[in-house]
Structures are given as C-alpha cells and as structure tokens.
Symmetry: C2
Subunit: 335 residues, 2 copies
C-alpha cells in the first residue's frame, strides 16, 4: 500500500513537471485557429465529454471522431488529388498501351486535355481509376502511392502535395487524440490510396482509415501469398455509404464528425443523431485568397445551400476558412 | 533540461516500484499455460520483436496480431455458438411465422431436430441466418445479441456461453497488448454478432473485430438516421477471405496470427510470409476430457492432416490443449 501511495505521489509530480515545462503549448492546443465562436464550440464540446462526472461525459473507448479527407483535411482543388495521381499513372503506363493514343479517355489525358478526358463523366473516371489502380498486388500499389505522394507537386501552387494539408485540422486531430479520442478518416477517396501516408501526415494509422475500395483476391504471386487488386468496385464510401462504412469498419456510432460537402451529410446526420453530446462540423471554403472559394454562395462546389441550411438547423459548426483559420497549410510535410 | 532529466529519473523510479509491487504477477504473464516448448515459442517471439536494437525489433504500430474466434478464443462444439443464437431467434420469431410449422429448415428446428434442419446444407443455414440476422437496425440487432449472450447456456456443459471462453487465450491477448501489440479478431463469424461482447470478454473493441457481414442500408427509421440490416451477404471472412478482410480492415500485414482450423490457413500463410519475425499458432483440440477432441486424428473436425503438415513445415506453433493448457475455460464472464 505504501508503494502504491508513493507511486501516486510520483505520478502527480510528473504531471506538475510536464505542465511546468509545456505550459505555453498547453495554453492553446489549437494555435492556428482564431479565437471566436467556431474554436470555442470545439473546445467546449471536448471539455464536456471529457469531464468525469459531467452528464455529458463519454468514456474514452466511445470517443470516436470521423474526418472526411478531401476538402476537410487537405485541399481538393482544382480536382481530387487522387485524380492527379491517376493521371500521372496514365502517363507512366502509356508506353505499354499504344492503343491509348486513339482511345478515350486516355487520348485526351495524354494530350494534357483533362477537361476532354473527363467529358465522359463517371464511366470515364471509373475507367481511368481501374486501369491505374488495379492489376498489381496491394504491396506494389502501396509502393506506387508512396513514390508519387512524396514527389508530386500541386498543379497551381506548385507546393509538394503533402503541403496542401490544413494545419488547423492537423492540430485538431492531435487535440482530440490528446483528449483520448480515436480519430478515423472516412473518405470517398480510395482506402489504399490514403493508407500509405495518413499515419505520418495525420497521425492516423491504416486501420483507422475508411474509404472507397476495389476488390482484392488472395493468390500466390512468385510463390508468396499476396493480395491482387481487381478492376472491380467493392464499396463506395460516400454519401449514404459513409454511415455504412463507419458501421463496417468501426462498429460504433461516432460522437463527432467533420466534413466539407454534401458527400458528408449522412455521416454528420448519423453521428449527431446519437444520444448524448454530439458534434458536427463543416469546413466552408470561402478563402479565395489563401485557398479556393467554392462554398454554397459560389454555386460551383459540392457544399449546397441545402447543406448550409441543415447545418444551421442542426447546430453544426461551420468553419469559415477565411475568418477562423490563422494559417491554412502546414509548413512542410510531416517528418 | 534539468526538468527532463528529473522526469526520466522519476519515471525510472516508477518502473522499479511497479516491478517491486507486482513481481509475482510479472514473473508469469501466462499462468494458465504449462511450461514447455509451446509457451516458450510465444515468449521468445514477443521478446525478440519488442527488444529495441534487436534485428527482429518491430515498432509498436506494426505489432498487429490477428485471432480467429470460434475454436481459438472460445469453444465451437457441438456447433458454432452463432448457430445456437440463430436457433434461439427462430423460436422467438416463430409466433409471427405460422408458416414455419410446415416449412424447412424451420419446421425441423422448431421440433428440436437440429440435424434435420441442417440437412439442407449451406442454403438452409443461410436461410436461418438471414431470417434471424436481418430486417432490423444495427442498434436493434446489437441489443438482441447482448440479451442472448448474457443469458445463453451451453447445451452440453450448461455453463453460461461466455464461460466457454479459453482462459489461456485471454491471458495471451492481454500479454500481447501489454507488449504494445494491437489485437484483432478475424473470424468467419458475423462481425455484428461478435462486436457487442468482444470488448468486455477479450478486451478487443468493435473497431478491431473483422468478420463476415450482411449488407446494411442507411435510412430514416422513426425520423432518425439508422442502418437497416438487409438479407444479403456482404462478405465471407473465411479461408482466402481472411487475408482480404485483414487488408480491408487493418491495411497492414499482421506479424502474428492465431487460429485452429483450415479456415485459418490462408491467414497464417499471409501473416508468416511477411518479412522479419513472424509467428503462426494453431490450437489443436485434443482434450476430450476437459473440452472436445476433434483434431486431424479424429477425422471429424476442420483441422486437416494437410494443415498439420503445413504447420510443421512452416514452423507454426501447435498448441495441445491437453498438454499445454493448465486451465481451459475462464472462471466466469468478464465483468
């Protein structure tokens, strides 16, 4: 018993020392967020669900927070970055496919005419994705993604693609985890396109990434067991698919969800309809100067007027990137 | 700097104190395992992958261990317990289905003739599963499972079903987690049949449970967003499906895998084929007195001669329940 008491005293001493050392940092876990109602709504929510004895207290195991990726954790303009990756792959694979010179959507792509290539709509995009994302093992695909993600540049800003990540959201993820939340990505993007870099970039390990997927098949490749990626859709993790993906991978209703578009609507609805304290947040892209402006007022994006009305009615927090974020992008890729 | 040094000293003091207090427990993290080659193979593997600087060292984030459930973590005789659950549900639902009195496989089931009901093979089992597992929301199904699992008794031993869990495996799970492994279930059983009780029973939260599933659909139920369970197979997490399920849910190749039947073969192959130190283990049911004997020598189970040969050839550990386990079942359900 004496040892246990001593242990508690020592633990308390450790806490005091750490607080002393890191007092400045502890004061503001969200330094890239301007003070105001938006930031306060986050801090208030975290305070109430983590306060033991509070009627809103949520045990750590149930502190599940889900984040959309494109437009929520990193930029998505002028097009989803996974599409940039696919187009890069088309260029790499073109020498093996001389027929692509005459075959849409590849012919346009190879001439640099992205708009022409995408004129074929979803079937054209699906064809590009299948050709560039299937036909190799999962291990090989992981390497392909890693090679691209560490060298790709954004077509407009020319910054490394991993510097198109939002600094305030990286802070928010870390803040939630420091409060014993488990953070997940729930994205319409490809699950295996994200997993190779989400741990280093966001602190989110592969097993906490939910996304769209193609089918894989167990087979022997060079005498070794491997998973071959097949050109066949397995699951689309968007819109009504997001709650389905959450249930499939997490098996618990989140208590907080973060998105930026109509594709996230059902995830926020599903999350905030649960009992007890809940939190929904939408990132509003309204900063043409520092990023891109394509909110509901622009009529060009995927954040509809209807979603904005629903956000207001449901008490979801709407982040104005222009007003709420001191900094937009990370200073450099996570090391 | 002085504070940091002091902190380290205090931390070291804490470690010494804890070791002093818990010396007896620390000596043997696997008290229900008899000493011998089997137990030693587990301890040796854990020692080498956790020893910093060792050529076999594996960083904590990559210490993924996957466990089959039926026959590996709890018993599976005289039939999978999920089938006991389904049969119970048929009885509960029977008053709403007068037609079942004349309709197989339900007619036989209702007369208590399990063998007759299962004579229809897989289609009959699928029909029983669909009728009993679909048509309600995921929240409702969770409650149904919880109600059953906390009251059901084993048909032969008459023990509560959650006392049919193997004590040595519960210790093994805790031992791995104490060494910073992340433990997952990868079972042919229903993912949503397991999740309501795996956290309390095995210390494995819902998001670390991989299993077979039916499709779900997002819809409004009584004006609230919910997921409705559909009578349609989504994924079978067995045999070649296990590596597929692992990749889908975990996104990393495990470094250790634990099973007990031919359904686990590909999971062990996939796991142990990775680079670096790997560990495969199969539970051999050879204890007719304390449990059930249905290993390869019995020719009645799902652990084939071929699997035993492969285990020997691949250096997988084979647990003799008779010789390696001091105790078989937990003393009571986890509180």
């Amino acid at each position: 018993m004496i040892s246990q008491r001593l242990t508690k005293l020592l633990a308390a001493a450790l806490v005091l020392i750490f607080h002393g050392v890191d007092a400045a940092a502890a004061q503001d876990p969200l330094p890239s967020w301007n003070d105001g109602a938006t930031k306060q709504s986050i801090v208030d929510f975290v305070a109430k669900v983590t306060k033991e004895g509070s009627p809103d207290f949520v045990p750590p195991a149930e502190r599940i927070a889900t984040f959309d990726n494109d437009g929520t954790l990193w930029a998505e303009q002028p097009m989803y970055f996974q599409l940039l990756f696919a187009m890069h792959r088309v260029g790499v694979l073109a020498p093996e496919h001389p027929e692509w010179k005459e075959l849409e959507p590849f012919a346009s792509l190879l001439k640099g005419d992205v708009k022409g290539a995408l004129a074929g709509g979803e079937p054209a995009i699906a064809e590009i994705i299948m050709v560039t994302h299937a036909g190799m093992t999962t291990d090989e695909f992981e390497k392909i993604v890693k090679d691209w993600i560490t060298t790709a540049k954004h077509p407009i800003t020319k910054r490394p693609i991993l510097e198109m990540v939002y600094q305030p959201m990286v802070e928010l993820l870390a803040y939630l985890r420091a409060n014993n939340f488990k953070t997940f990505i729930v994205s319409g993007g490809g699950i295996e396109f994200m997993r190779p870099w989400t741990e280093q970039t966001y602190g989110i390990p592969p097993e906490q990434v939910v996304g769209s997927s193609i089918k894989t098949k167990f087979e022997m490749v060079d005498g070794k067991p491997a998973l071959m990626r097949l050109p066949e859709i397995n699951f689309i993790d968007d819109k009504t698919g997001k709650p389905v993906g959450i249930n499939s991978h997490i098996g618990r209703r989140p208590i907080a969800a973060f998105g930026n578009s109509d594709g996230d609507r059902q995830m926020l609805e599903y999350t905030t309809a649960g009992t007890g304290a809940r939190f929904g947040l939408l990132v509003h892209h309204d900063d043409a100067e520092r990023e891109f402006a394509y909110g509901p007022e622009s009529k060009i994006g995927t954040f509809s007027d209807g979603l904005m009305s629903e956000a207001k009615q449901s008490g979801w927090t709407v982040v104005s990137m222009k007003n709420d974020w001191k900094t937009i992008f990370v200073a450099g890729p996570a090391k």
